[in-house]
C-alpha cells in the first residue's frame, strides 16, 4: 500500500470565543443583469453578444414561444395528449445553450425545448415525438415532450425529477476521463433541487472534479408549490457555497446575462475541471403543463408583473436599438414557422405508430427468451382479435 500522508481536516479553520450564529442577517447573493427590461445595456464592458449570436438566440426564443403556443392549442384540440411550455423562460434556456459548444452534452429536466431549437432540432422532429408516431426516436414509448437526440448531444428526457443531476456529474467525469474537450450541462427546476439526487450530484461533482454546469431555472413554482414552501435559504445559489461549487446567480429573463454567465461557467468548468452552479431567476409564465390551471394557486397580478419582464421583448428591444434586427425578416420567419408547424402537425398525426417489435425491443440489447415468448403470444392474440388492437393489428395481417 502506498504511504499515507498526515491529514488535518480542521487546518483551515480559525477559532472564536463568541457563539456566532451563521446565516443571521446574510445578504442575498446579487444577480447578474446586463439588460434592463427596456433592453438598455447596463454594463461598461463590451457586450458579450455579437449580432449573429444575439439574433440566433432571439429567433430561437421566438420559435420556442410559437411552438409552445401552437402545441398548447393542439393539446386543447385533443390532437396531442400532453404538453409543457417554456413560456417566460426562453432566455434562461436558449441563451445558456448558446454559450455552449455543440459537443457539450445537455441533460434537461423537461422544460428546455429551447435548447433543442437552438441546436437545430427540426419542426418535423418535434412533431414526431409529440405525436408518438413511428418516427419518434423514442419509438412511441414516452409521453410527449420527452425529447432526446444523440447527434445533437441532447439526452432523452426522463420524468423522475432530479435523477439527471448525479448522472450529469458522471457523464462529465466520463467526458474528462476519455479526454473530450466537452462538458455536461444539467438543467433543473428549483423544485427538483429539493430532491436527494441534487445533493448527491452537486457534492459528487465537486469532490470528483467533474466539468458540469448545473443550471437551475428558479421560476417561482413547482407545480403549485411556491418557493417559500420549497426552501428557506437564499434560493439555490446559496447552496453552491456549501458544496464548494463556484456559483453564479443570473437574471434568467436577460438573455445577455445568461449568455455571459454560462460562457464564464463553461470556461471555468473546463479549465479547472470543476462544476459551476448557475441559478437563473425567472418565472414560469405558462401553466405547469396542459394538465394544470395556475389560477388555483397564484394571482393574475403576479403574472402580469412578469409578463412585463418578457425575455424575448427585452433582447429584441436591444437588437432593435443596435439596428441588428430586420423586423420584416423576423415577421416572415414567424409566419413561415407557424405554417411549418401546422403542416408538420398534420403530417405527424397521420403517420403510423411504431410496430409491435418496438414494444419489446430495447428492454435489453438482445431480446431474451422470456420476452420473445410474450411477444409471440401477444402476436397470436392480436391476430385473433385484430379489431381490439387497431394500432398493431394491421401489421400482423
Amino acid at each position: 500500500m502506498t504511504n499515507i500522508n498526515e491529514r488535518n481536516h480542521i487546518a483551515h479553520i480559525n477559532t472564536t470565543q463568541e457563539v456566532n450564529i451563521i446565516s443571521d442577517g446574510l445578504v442575498a447573493i446579487p444577480m447578474l443583469q446586463l439588460l434592463d427590461t427596456n433592453g438598455e445595456y447596463l454594463s461598461h464592458n463590451p457586450s458579450p453578444l455579437t449580432q449573429e449570436s444575439a439574433l440566433k438566440i432571439l429567433y430561437s426564443m421566438h420559435y420556442t414561444r410559437l411552438l409552445d403556443e401552437r402545441m398548447v392549442s393542439a393539446q386543447r384540440q385533443g390532437r396531442i395528449s400532453f404538453y409543457l411550455a417554456c413560456t417566460g423562460e426562453e432566455a434562461a434556456v436558449v441563451a445558456s445553450t448558446a454559450a455552449l459548444e455543440p459537443v457539450d452534452m445537455i441533460m434537461s429536466q423537461y422544460r428546455e425545448q429551447g435548447a433543442l431549437v437552438y441546436r437545430g432540432y427540426t419542426t418535423a422532429q418535434f412533431m414526431n415525438q409529440l405525436f408518438s408516431n413511428k418516427l419518434d426516436p423514442n419509438k412511441g414509448r414516452q409521453m410527449p415532450i420527452h425529447y432526446g437526440d444523440k447527434t445533437l448531444n441532447f439526452m432523452t428526457v426522463s420524468s423522475p425529477l432530479g435523477t439527471q443531476i448525479p448522472q450529469a456529474a458522471g457523464y462529465a467525469f466520463g467526458q474528462k476521463y476519455t479526454g473530450e474537450a466537452a462538458l455536461t450541462i444539467c438543467y433543473f427546476g428549483e423544485g427538483a433541487a429539493s430532491e436527494g439526487d441534487f445533493h448527491a450530484g452537486l457534492n459528487m461533482a465537486a469532490v470528483l472534479n467533474c466539468p458540469t454546469i448545473f443550471f437551475c431555472r428558479n421560476n417561482g413554482y413547482a407545480i403549485s408549490t411556491p418557493t417559500a414552501e420549497q426552501f428557506a435559504g437564499d434560493g439555490i445559489a446559496s447552496r453552491g457555497i456549501g458544496y464548494g461549487v463556484k456559483t453564479i446567480r443570473v437574471d434568467g429573463n436577460d438573455a445577455m446575462a445568461v449568455f455571459a454567465a454560462t460562457q464564464a461557467a463553461r470556461k471555468i468548468a473546463l479549465a479547472e475541471s470543476c462544476p459551476v452552479l448557475i441559478e437563473a431567476m425567472t418565472y414560469r409564465l405558462a401553466a405547469h403543463s396542459t394538465s394544470d390551471d395556475p389560477s388555483g394557486y397564484r394571482s393574475a397580478d403576479e403574472e402580469v408583473k412578469w409578463q412585463e419582464k418578457d425575455p424575448i421583448a427585452r433582447l429584441q428591444k436591444y437588437c432593435i436599438a443596435q439596428s441588428w434586427l430586420d423586423l420584416e425578416h423576423l415577421d416572415a420567419y414567424i409566419t413561415q414557422s407557424r405554417a411549418e408547424i401546422l403542416a408538420e402537425v398534420k403530417r405527424a398525426e397521420k403517420e403510423d405508430y411504431a410496430s409491435i417489435d418496438d414494444l419489446f425491443a430495447d428492454v435489453y440489447a438482445v431480446l431474451p427468451k422470456h420476452l420473445d415468448t410474450q411477444k409471440q403470444s401477444l402476436q397470436a392474440h392480436i391476430k385473433k382479435y385484430p379489431e381490439a388492437y387497431p394500432k398493431t393489428a394491421r401489421e400482423l395481417l
Binding site: 403549485s224 408549490t225 414552501e229 414494444l359 420476452l371 381490439a388
Partner: protein
C-alpha cells in the same frame, strides 16, 4: 349515502379521519392550498389549517422520512406520493425504516400511525412514469400492510381503517378510476377490515383474482365467459399484504381453477405469490395450471398501452384455455 367518485370518497375519508382525530395530518407535494394534482386533498387546508395539511418540498425520501418521525412521535401522518412511479426515492425509508421501526426497537417505538397514499397504474396514456404498478415490491416487505381499493365505497372504508391501523399502510389508488368509478358512499364514518378479500361474484368453474382497477377487467372477462357457459368466481384481494389466503384457497378448492390478473410486469409480480401459495394449498383440487394474465416484462409503454395491458380479452382467452386444459 351520497354518490361519489373514487377521488371524492378519498377526500371524504380524509376529512372524516381528520375531524375525528386531530393527530391525523396530511402532507405531500402540492397537497396544501391546491389540494393535490388530482385534488384528493381539496379543501383540507381550508378546514384544518396549514398545520394539519401542508405542502412539503419536492423530495419523496424526505416526505416519508419526515412522516416516519412524525408517526414515531405519535401523530398519524397521511403522506401523499404524487405518483406511484415516484415512490422509489422513498423506498429505503419504507423498507429499512417504516417497516422495521417497531421490530428493531422491541416495540418501544413504531411508525404504526403512518399511511402512505399514492395513485398507481396505467390506462391514462402516462407512459413509463405515470403508469407503474409497484405493489409487488411492497408485498415483499414484512412490517407494512398494502391495501388497494377498487371503488369509492371500499376506498373510504379501507382508507379509514388504514389511517387508524396500528401498522403502517401503503394505500395504492387506481388512478384511472379516480373519476371513472362512481358509487354510493355512506356519509358516516365506517371502516372495512384490512387483509380480507371480497368475493365480488360467486361462481363454480374458475376463480379469478385481481385487485384495484383490474377487478373490473376480470369482471368483464367473467361476463364474456358466461356467454360460453363458464361460471367464474371473482375475487378482489383488496389487501395484498397480508392477503386473504383462506378465501382464495376455499374458492379454488371449489372451482379447481385459478387465474390471477395484474397490470405490473409478469415476472416476480404479486400473481407469482398467489400462484405459488395456492398451488401448494390446493394441489389436489387443481384441474389446470394456475394462469397469470399480467403486464408484459417491459417498461410501461405509451402507444402500445393496449397491447401491454392484461385486458378483458386476454383474460377471457386465458379462462378458455384453462377450461380446455
Amino acid at each position: 349515502m351520497a354518490q361519489m367518485n373514487l377521488l371524492q370518497a378519498i377526500n371524504n375519508a380524509l376529512i372524516t379521519a381528520m375531524r375525528a382525530d386531530n393527530k391525523v395530518l396530511v402532507l405531500g407535494e402540492d397537497v396544501g392550498h391546491f389540494g393535490g394534482v388530482f385534488r384528493a386533498t381539496s379543501h383540507l387546508q381550508e378546514e384544518f389549517g396549514r398545520e394539519r395539511c401542508f405542502n412539503t418540498p419536492l423530495v419523496e425520501q424526505g416526505i416519508i422520512g419526515f412522516a416516519n418521525g412524525l408517526a414515531a412521535q405519535g401523530c398519524k401522518p397521511v403522506a401523499e406520493i404524487q405518483f406511484g412511479d415516484y415512490i422509489f426515492p422513498a423506498f429505503d425509508q419504507i423498507i429499512n425504516e417504516t417497516a422495521k421501526f417497531r421490530y428493531r426497537s422491541g416495540g418501544q417505538f413504531d411508525c404504526g400511525g403512518l399511511t402512505i397514499r399514492t395513485p398507481y397504474g396505467g390506462g391514462i396514456a402516462g407512459g413509463h412514469y405515470h403508469s407503474q404498478s409497484p405493489e409487488a415490491f411492497f408485498a415483499h416487505i414484512p412490517g407494512i400492510k398494502v391495501v388497494i381499493p377498487r371503488n369509492p365505497y371500499q376506498a373510504k372504508g379501507l382508507l379509514l381503517s388504514a389511517i387508524r391501523e396500528p401498522d403502517p399502510v401503503i394505500f395504492f389508488e387506481p388512478k384511472r378510476l379516480y373519476r371513472a368509478a362512481v358509487g354510493d358512499v355512506p356519509e358516516s364514518d365506517y371502516e372495512l377490515p384490512l387483509g380480507h378479500a371480497d368475493i365480488v361474484q360467486t361462481g363454480s368453474d374458475i376463480t379469478l383474482v385481481a385487485w384495484g382497477a383490474q377487478v373490473e377487467i376480470i369482471q368483464e372477462a367473467a361476463q364474456r365467459a358466461l356467454g360460453d357457459g363458464i361460471s367464474c368466481e371473482v375475487i378482489d384481494l383488496q389487501s395484498i399484504l397480508p392477503w386473504d389466503i383462506a378465501t382464495v384457497s376455499t374458492s379454488v378448492v371449489k372451482t379447481g381453477r385459478l387465474l390471477i390478473n395484474h397490470e405490473a410486469p409478469l415476472t416476480a409480480g404479486f400473481a407469482a405469490e398467489v400462484a405459488a401459495e395456492i398451488q401448494s394449498q390446493c394441489f389436489l383440487s387443481l384441474e389446470a395450471p394456475i394462469m397469470r394474465v399480467c403486464g408484459l416484462d417491459t417498461p410501461y409503454p405509451l402507444v402500445h398501452e393496449k397491447e401491454y395491458m392484461p385486458d378483458a380479452l386476454k383474460t377471457y382467452e386465458a379462462i378458455i384455455a384453462t377450461m380446455n386444459y
